[in-house]
């Protein structure tokens, strides 16, 4: 017999969580404060690391308190939907009151995916944004994805986790053209990287030499193809704002964890290379090394959940990166 879930029942269970918490408070327990700023819908494969995902969501809650709905895709099998409701609480340091967020976990077989929208829609917190974090690399290819995505104000994905990052970027660019807010964690991973590059050109002397740049080279290793595409597109777009139009070469090199940019021109060389959590900035032969560890999923999501509006730099870069694939 196939399993089903009733949204009304889930909402009742959620309400009971707070009644129980209130009773505990009256009986002398610590007080509970309910916090919510959004609905976070996480779509993950059943095989996705449960513990790691749970930890990431828990870490996000203090800054982005949310009703989290984690949907686990159990794959093929009979049409089945099951649910579990619980609260995620933490006690801020030095305070007496717990802060709690609601969490719902739904397991769904591929056959029941078409029912997911009808379950999630009533569970979304009214008047607050719904953010979809799609961790499943296969779901965007499934026909049901479009109606699930239609519920969200913003869709967060990771093109680097896709078996075909280039196709993922192309598809995202097409979605963005329809005005849907997107966040690609491959782009988010570049924020600190880009910030360090930008900081070098806060110096007016360095900035004044940018028009000398005639050649851009982006080198990448391992799974850095998507970030390399983004970097190349962003650099070219940014320099174009100054009326500078260098040539761009993107090449794969040996080594698992390299992402490097070289800007060269007449009497000017700047190189930015990140490898093994270290960023080396070399300007006219003088190098400086800085610690720049790879951001965790928590840090990446924290940044993306903070931007629920148009992101002009990303949107422009995404479109340019897609164009780079078909020069």
């Amino acid at each position: 017999m196939s399993a089903t879930v009733a949204p009304d029942q889930i909402l009742k269970e959620l309400a009971e969580l707070w009644v129980d918490s209130g009773k505990q408070e009256q009986e002398g327990g610590t007080g509970v404060l309910r916090a919510c700023s959004m609905t976070l819908l996480v779509l993950a494969e059943a095989g996705d690391d449960t513990q790691s995902l749970g930890e990431t969501v828990a870490m996000l809650m203090p800054e982005h308190p949310a009703r989290t709905i984690v949907v686990r895709l159990s794959g093929q099998g009979e049409r089945s939907l099951t649910e579990r409701v619980y609260s995620q609480c933490w006690m801020p340091f030095g305070q007496r009151r717990q802060i709690c967020c609601e969490q719902v976990e739904i397991t769904v077989s591929d056959a029941a995916l078409k029912d997911l929208r009808s379950v999630v829609l009533p569970l979304a917190v009214p008047d607050l944004p719904l953010i979809l974090w799609c961790r499943s690399p296969r779901l965007p290819h499934m026909p049901e994805f479009r109606q699930i995505a239609a519920m969200a104000q913003k869709i967060v994905f990771d093109s680097a986790a896709s078996p075909d990052p280039a196709a993922s970027i192309e598809r995202a660019a097409a979605v963005a053209e329809r005005g849907i807010l997107l966040g690609d964690l491959s782009w988010t991973r570049l924020t600190r990287w880009r910030e360090m590059l930008a900081q070098v050109f806060e110096n007016q002397q360095n900035l004044a030499r940018l028009p000398l740049v005639s050649n851009l080279e982006v080198e990448w290793g391992g799974s850095r193809y998507a970030p390399a595409l983004y970097l190349g597109a962003w650099l070219r777009d940014s320099l174009a704002l100054m009326g500078v139009h260098p040539s761009l070469q993107t090449s794969r090199v040996a080594g698992d964890d390299l992402l490097a940019v070289r800007m060269t021109g007449e009497s000017f060389t700047a190189e930015f290379a990140r490898r093994d959590d270290r960023m080396v900035v070399t300007l006219d032969g003088a190098s400086q090394c800085t610690n720049l560890p790879q951001p965790t999923d928590y840090l990446l999501l924290r940044e993306e959940l903070g931007i629920v509006r148009r992101d002009p730099v990303f949107e422009k870069t995404l479109a340019s990166a897609a164009r780079l694939l078909h020069p």
Binding site: L33, F201, N203, L241, N291, I307, V313
Partner: protein, 506 residues
């Protein structure tokens, strides 16, 4: 015209921080060790400073750059709160620490400083930008500014800014004189008077709360607000600073600057934009609208206090006059409560009760806005049924906002009880809040003076406080008039009772 950096992404990047050198006068002092260097280190840790950022410490003690670095390392390790020490970050940051020894009154110091700044400009590419921070005795402020001006350091290839710690004078005349002396070398736009209260995240949140939301502002006036209570209470005594405190007192130390600035933030008119000049204009206008008191009004509307000995939780606590370095007959106020009125259309007739004190029942800083009661009591009950609506903005220790209102008690019958709806700033946003000094130092480096105090604001504050100061000086009060560990003198309760009000016990 400077070129625009095409790589900036304001939506995702932290604020742009220009390269600069910070020159700290009083580099061997407590403030530098406890607050400034830990704040700068934290900014470096968070990659908020530019790669070429440099610090030049100045004090009289001869010391090498290396010895200064070691001393600051100890300070950062001891006084950095909720910051992990990272040796790599420190080593990179410490490369930019330099030291120049000399006397503030000696012109040779400024020649050495100029030479050192020129070297730093060449090696660190600071672009000639210099932030001077006066962390010295207040009596040295004018001499330091004058020395910088005479050596030509008040102007340069880049920007020059002068940060001054409170107190900004000890009365209106001395505040004006100090400003005049500073202006001999620096324009007013280059003078950053720091009030660390304004750097606190929750004080800034008052602006977000008032002007980012549409629902509160219509209630924010004399039609709906009954009165406002501003409390800055400390549970500790003078903690070895008796000699200093004896000269200042609670009125000058807290109300003249911190609490009047808080009051200005809570009561100011909406500014046309969030630009520094616009926000500061509104703050200044509010301060100038506070009605100065006559000597007779001071007697009715203010209460000085001084704590006496008591036993708190089984520990014997000395009175102020028994503290080390304090005159046993001292007339210094360790508590001050005042009733202020704002003469403008919004607030006419609404009392603003402001109080501060040492050795009060608990450490708390908060603003409580009490609204008028419902015009008709249709629920037949007394007590809880008539409890006023209160909006409480807590600044420390548990930053947040609470709204108190009446709700029906479950069950049959129509019994009301007050309930509190809480927004806890620290836990609703679990992210670490920057310290006030981190915020304000970064603001000064990027040239954002919104949270700094302007000369006209300082003068307006002194105009409010000086009549109280004068009246209190002329009257000998029978001190001590409150035991340590309580909420202050009985006379302060009576001051509110005259208008039918009661101090909150936060």
């Amino acid at each position: 015209m400077p070129l625009e950096n095409p790589f900036q992404d304001p939506l995702r990047f932290e604020r742009r921080v220009p390269e600069c050198a910070a020159v700290i006068f009083g580099a061997n002092g407590d403030l530098t060790k406890r607050k400034l260097l830990p704040a700068l280190y934290r900014l470096a840790y968070d990659r908020r400073l530019s790669a070429g950022f440099a610090v030049v410490g100045i004090s009289r003690t001869p010391m090498s750059d290396q010895a200064f670095r070691e001393k600051m390392l100890e300070a950062v390790k001891e006084f950095s709160e909720d910051t992990t020490f990272d040796a790599d970050v420190w080593n990179a940051f410490a490369k930019g620490l330099f030291y120049v020894a000399g006397d503030i009154g000696d012109p040779a110091l400024y020649q050495s400083l100029a030479a050192r700044l020129a070297e730093i400009e060449a090696s660190c590419h600071t672009g000639g930008n210099v932030l001077f921070y006066l962390s010295t005795q207040p009596s040295q402020y004018a001499r330091a500014a004058q020395g910088l001006g005479a050596a030509g350091l008040g102007k340069g290839a880049g920007w020059r800014r002068l940060v001054v710690e409170k107190p900004f004078g000890h009365d209106l005349a001395s505040a004006r004189e100090l400003s005049d002396r500073l202006h001999e070398s620096f324009d007013e736009s280059e003078v950053y008077r720091i009030d660390h209260y304004l750097g606190k995240e929750t004080v800034q949140n008052i602006l977000a709360f008032r002007f980012g939301n549409g629902i509160f502002e219509p209630l924010w006036n004399r039609r709906y607000v009954n009165h406002v209570q501003i409390t800055g209470a400390e549970s500790i005594g003078v903690e070895g600073r008796g000699a200093y405190y004896q000269e200042a007192g609670a009125l000058d130390d807290m109300i003249q600057n911190h609490l009047l600035q808080v009051m200005a933030t809570i009561a100011m008119e909406p500014s046309a934009s969030f630009r520094a000049a616009s926000v500061r204009d509104e703050r200044s206008k509010l301060l100038r609208s506070i009605r100065p008191m006559t000597a007779d009004e001071v007697r009715q509307n203010s209460v000085p206090g001084q704590y006496g000995p008591a036993s708190i939780g089984g520990n014997d606590v000395p009175g102020f006059r028994q503290e080390a370095g304090v005159d046993p007959q001292s007339q210094t106020n360790t508590y001050a409560a005042v009733t202020l009125f704002v003469d403008n259309w919004r607030w006419a007739g609404v009392p603003f009760y402001v109080r501060t004190g040492k050795r009060l029942a608990k450490r708390v800083t908060e603003i409580a806005i009490q609204f008028n009661p419902a015009p008709l009591h249709i629920f037949d009950q007394d007590g809880a049924g008539s409890a006023p609506n209160l909006l409480i903005v807590r600044i420390q220790p548990e930053e947040g906002i609470s709204l108190k209102f009446l709700s029906k008690r479950p069950g049959s019958g129509m019994t009301l009880r007050p309930v509190s709806m809480d927004f806890n700033y620290g836990s609703s946003f679990g992210e670490r809040s920057p310290s006030a000094y981190e915020t304000l130092l970064l603001d000064a480096i990027v040239g954002d003076a919104t949270l700094y105090t302007r000369q006209d604001m300082v003068e307006a504050s002194w105009s409010v406080v000086e009549p109280i100061q004068n009246a209190w000086r002329e009257t000998k009060t029978d001190f001590p008039n409150y035991p340590a560990g309580t909420w202050g003198p009985v006379a302060a309760e009576e001051m509110l009772a005259r208008r039918g009000h009661v101090w909150r016990k936060p």
